[in-house]
């Protein structure tokens, strides 16, 4: 277990190094940073000075190393757009995205698993088939359109829910939360649904497929043959086994919720990192883009690690030594 974790961490570090390389290359190659930083009235001397200051005269590896050094300390420099340290901006924006991702993740997980189980055990029921077909509509329309339609219906026409922003937020140290106010909670609903819908569909379909497979396993038949109750068969025997493969994909899905938040945040003017990223793209704010990339990968890698640990918690087979492989 320990060795496994160490190996995963090691691999994660490699992943981060590669992502770092991409981020760093953006600095180097997408637009000359000197161009970006010096105005039009630059002199050759200015350029030389800045080059030296930025270490651009060093070789690639040294520069990369320096970039990593800084990145590890959370130092991505200043945003071209806002003129503030990127790390500060990220920290400021992160709570919004994380809360949104958390709620949509929960919607996706709970809804997805519940509906997945339902459609699997009522495989031939009308309701299940309706859900199955209906869920496809969720993935057959672009997220932004769903968001806008929701705004149209629930904010403009019905006036029930806010159309943008986080509502009132409460400061808890460096974290700001919308969970503690009514307006904050109301503001969460539409974006969270928009963001979670797609993932929910995926998770639901995945759970259903896996569950159906599991329900055909011998041990389920054997449990039936022993007269175990349906409920126990579905939720104790089948669900647990279903979760093992579902966890990986779900982990990845939850990661991509944070990425997909880009769209939702744009539509709902949700003040999170996704919106920040879009703004950064528009402003060619490379430090922010690079930092965002790194941050997303760190989260992804983190989620993957958690997923791996969940495996250990759920599947006893992994706790004993396995032969080879990883």
């Amino acid at each position: 277990m320990l060795a496994y974790m160490i190996r995963r961490v090691f691999q994660s570090v490699i992943v981060l190094l590669v992502v770092g390389l991409v981020a760093f290359s953006m600095f180097r190659f997408v637009g000359d940073p000197v161009d970006n930083m010096l105005g039009q009235e630059r002199t050759q001397a200015d350029i030389e000075r800045l080059r030296e200051q930025l270490g651009l005269d060093e070789n690639f590896v040294v520069q990369y190393w320096r970039f990593l050094e800084q990145a590890v300390q959370g130092n991505f420099g200043l945003s071209y757009r806002q003129g503030r340290p990127v790390a500060d901006i990220l920290v400021e924006r992160l709570p919004a995205t994380l809360e949104l991702a958390l709620v949509s993740g929960l919607i996706a997980l709970i809804g997805g698993i519940a509906l997945g189980i339902f459609t699997a055990i009522r495989k031939r029921g009308i309701a299940a088939n309706l859900i199955m077909t209906g869920s496809l509509i969720g993935v057959s329309l672009p997220t932004f359109l769903i968001g806008i339609v929701l705004i149209y219906v629930f904010s403009v026409e019905l006036g029930w829910l806010p159309s943008f922003g986080r509502g009132e937020v409460t400061d808890l140290g460096w974290w700001t939360t919308g969970f503690l106010t009514v307006s904050g909670l109301k503001a969460l609903i539409l974006p969270a649904i928009t963001l979670g819908l797609y993932q929910m569909t995926l998770i639901m379909r995945l759970v259903r497929t896996e569950m159906l497979e599991v329900l055909r396993m011998d041990y389920i038949r054997f449990a039936r043959a022993r007269g175990i109750r349906q409920r126990s068969i579905h939720f104790r025997h089948a669900l647990k086994n279903t979760l093992v493969p579902v966890i990986t994909i779900t982990g990845l899905q939850l990661g991509s919720i944070i990425a997909f938040a880009i769209i939702t945040e744009t539509v709902f003017q949700w003040p999170g990192v996704g919106l920040l990223f879009i703004n950064a793209v528009q402003f060619v704010d490379i430090p922010v883009m690079a930092a965002y990339l790194m941050m997303i990968s760190v989260m992804f890698v983190g989620i993957n690690l958690i997923v791996d640990m969940l495996y250990f918690a759920i599947d006893p087979r992994l706790r004993v030594d396995r032969k080879g492989g990883h």
Partner: protein
């Protein structure tokens, strides 16, 4: 008679250690699994040599080493005097390779479900660039199917028919030796009889030599001329069929004979064998069978018995005489 296959001191060790990091952290040694240890035997031309033993005893591993799908850790396999592992002459290796073919256990998994039977059968020849015209049809008829079956796909055949197709494929390159790894264990008795008969017939017609791998003593008894009994990767007894069945000398062979259900043992109440096959990674010291052996003595625990010639058989038991 001349030995067409000569296996000497064959060893195959699998490295089943956990990855390096786990070993460092858990302070474990590297773990090795000796799937085949020090096995030597020879097969005479146009004879059937059978290897029997329970699951995990190394039968398939030996078979694969002989056909070249696996390389031995040490020891050698000579086929027609050519050691495939050490021979440098490409042409020689190639001819020897085409002399030896294999039939597998699972007739369902042995045939590529997406290929037509014709292509499956002709592949060994086609791969070498040979002429395959009419080949599949001829072979199909030879194994008791009809030429028209060449255009069908494997899923249209029953298990027994598939095994015939496998045999046809094995025959395509005109081999001298066929290694059969449990060719009938997935088949029903009535079909098994057909396949075994077919194999016997082909042996006579084409002068084939078989290495016949099985865990079913009755089948072995029917087919083999000479039988080697394997236990945990070691040859514990080897004898011609009559000798072995009349007088099994190794306690393990005796146990196998006793445990095997028989058609005439109605309501037989004998105490079943004790214990199970030990873990191959940490085999017992000395004679690997000693923990289950009713006659084991101190020396069995300490020393690995060598194969000794005892009245027409080779037995690896300290106590056999």
């Amino acid at each position: 008679m001349n030995k067409i296959i000569d296996v000497s001191n064959l060893n195959r060790i699998f490295d089943v250690s956990k990855p390096w990091l786990n070993r460092v952290i858990e302070r474990k040694e590297k773990a090795y699994l000796a799937a085949v240890s020090d096995v030597s035997f020879g097969i005479e031309e146009n004879s059937v040599y059978a290897l029997v033993g329970e699951s995990g005893s190394g039968k398939s591993t030996i078979g694969k080493m002989i056909v070249g799908l696996l390389s031995p850790s040490s020891g050698s396999v000579e086929i027609n005097g050519v050691d495939l592992m050490r021979e440098m002459d490409k042409v020689k290796v190639d001819t020897v390779r085409s002399d030896i073919q294999m039939i597998f256990q699972d007739p369902y998994a042995s045939l590529n479900p997406r290929w037509k039977v014709r292509n499956i059968i002709a592949e060994p020849v086609a791969a070498r660039g040979g002429d395959t015209k009419g080949l599949a049809e001829k072979l199909l008829e030879q194994v008791g199917l009809s030429a028209g079956d060449a255009d069908r796909f494997p899923h249209e055949f029953s298990g027994g028919q598939r095994q015939r197709i496998c045999i046809a494929r094995a025959l395509a390159s005109g081999p001298k030796i066929i290694v059969c790894d449990e060719p009938t264990s997935a088949l029903d008795v009535s079909v098994q009889a057909q396949v075994l008969n077919l194999m016997s017939d082909l042996r006579d017609e084409l002068g084939l030599t078989y290495l016949f791998i099985s865990h079913d003593l009755t089948v072995v008894q029917h087919m083999a001329d000479k039988i080697g009994v394997l236990y945990l990767g070691r040859l514990v007894e080897e004898a011609p069929r009559e000798t072995l069945f009349a007088n099994p000398k190794h306690p393990y062979t005796q146990m196998l004979f006793d445990a095997a259900p028989r058609m005439d043992s109605f309501g037989r109440e004998i105490p079943p064998p004790q214990g199970e096959i030990p873990d191959a990674i940490n085999p017992p010291s000395g004679c690997a069978f000693h923990p289950r052996c009713p006659m084991a003595t101190e020396v069995c625990r300490r020393e690995i018995p060598a194969l000794r010639d005892i009245s027409g058989a080779r037995v690896a038991c300290h106590l056999a005489e």
